[in-house]
C-alpha cells in the first residue's frame, strides 16, 4: 500500500495494491489507523486501481475506516 499525505490540504491518500482479503486486511487496518491518527486528515481517499482481488473483508475494512472518519466528521472518498 502506498501512503501519501498532503499537508496543506490535509488530504490522506491510500493506494491499495494486489489482493485484499481477511489475511491482508489485518496489516492494512493497522497501518491505515496509524496514519489517520497521526495526521488527522480532513479527507481520506482510497484508490483501488491496482487491486486485483477483494472479498467481503475489504468491504469490512472500508466500512470500518468510514465509520472512524464519519465519527470525526471527516470525509472519505473512494476512487
Amino acid at each position: 500500500m502506498q501512503i501519501k499525505y498532503l499537508e496543506q490540504d490535509k488530504l490522506l491518500f491510500f493506494s491499495l495494491e494486489e489482493e485484499i482479503d481477511h489475511h491482508t486486511t489485518k496489516d492494512l487496518r493497522r497501518k491505515m489507523d496509524y496514519e489517520i491518527e497521526r495526521h488527522m486528515p480532513k479527507k481520506v481517499i482510497f484508490n483501488f486501481d491496482s487491486v486485483s482481488f477483494m472479498d467481503s473483508a475489504g468491504i469490512g475494512l472500508l466500512l470500518g475506516r468510514y465509520k472512524i472518519v464519519n465519527m470525526l466528521r471527516w470525509r472519505s472518498s473512494i476512487n
Binding site: H23, R29, F53, D55
Partner: protein, 158 residues
C-alpha cells in the same frame, strides 16, 4: 448431482489466514480447464475466499483446525465443497441474511453468504452445532467455443 464427475481435486489446509489466497488460487487453477472468463474466475475466487474465511474466523474461531476443499467438474459445471469441523452454525437462515454477522468487532461486513449466493449458481449450507459446517457451491461455466462457432456460422450466412 449423482452423475459421475469428469475431474476431481482435493485440498486440505490448516485454518491459517495466509492459506486463504492459496485456497482460492488453487481452486481457480483447477477451474481453468473449463475455460472460464476472467469474470467467472474472480467470482469463483471470491466465493472460495468467503467460505474459507468463514471457516477460519467462525468455524474454528482462529484456533487450529483443518479445512477440506473438494472440487469436481461435471460437464460444464464446477462444484466446490468446503468443509470444516468447527463449531457449526446455529441458525443457517439467519446467518445467510445480508449484513448479519456475529463478529462485528472484527469489522466483518456480514456479506459472506450473500456473496457466495450471488456469485455462484447454487449454494447449499449444511451444519451441525459442535460438529462443523459444509458449504457446497456450484457454478455453470458457459461454453464459449460453441457460442463462437455459432456466431461465426451466423456471420457466414449473413
Amino acid at each position: 448431482m449423482n452423475k459421475r464427475y469428469k475431474n476431481k481435486m482435493q485440498l486440505e489446509i490448516l485454518s491459517k489466514s495466509n492459506n486463504e489466497a492459496f485456497a482460492r488460487i488453487t481452486v481457480a487453477a483447477f477451474a481453468a480447464q473449463l475455460d472460464p472468463t476472467i469474470e467467472e474466475l474472480s467470482d469463483i475466487k471470491t466465493a472460495v475466499s468467503e467460505a474459507v474465511t468463514n471457516s477460519i474466523i467462525h468455524g474454528y474461531e482462529n484456533k487450529e483446525g483443518i479445512i477440506r476443499i473438494n472440487a469436481y467438474i461435471y460437464d460444464n459445471v464446477l462444484r466446490i465443497e468446503i468443509a470444516d469441523q468447527g463449531k457449526g452454525i446455529e441458525d443457517i437462515e439467519i446467518a445467510k441474511q445480508p449484513l448479519y454477522t456475529t463478529k462485528p468487532e472484527l469489522e466483518r461486513s456480514g456479506m459472506g453468504f450473500t456473496i457466495m449466493d450471488n456469485f455462484m449458481d447454487n449454494l447449499k449450507v449444511e451444519s451441525v452445532v459442535g460438529m462443523g459446517t459444509k458449504v457446497t457451491m456450484e457454478k455453470k461455466i458457459a461454453d464459449k467455443n460453441t457460442n463462437e462457432e455459432k456466431n461465426q456460422e451466423e456471420n457466414f450466412y449473413v
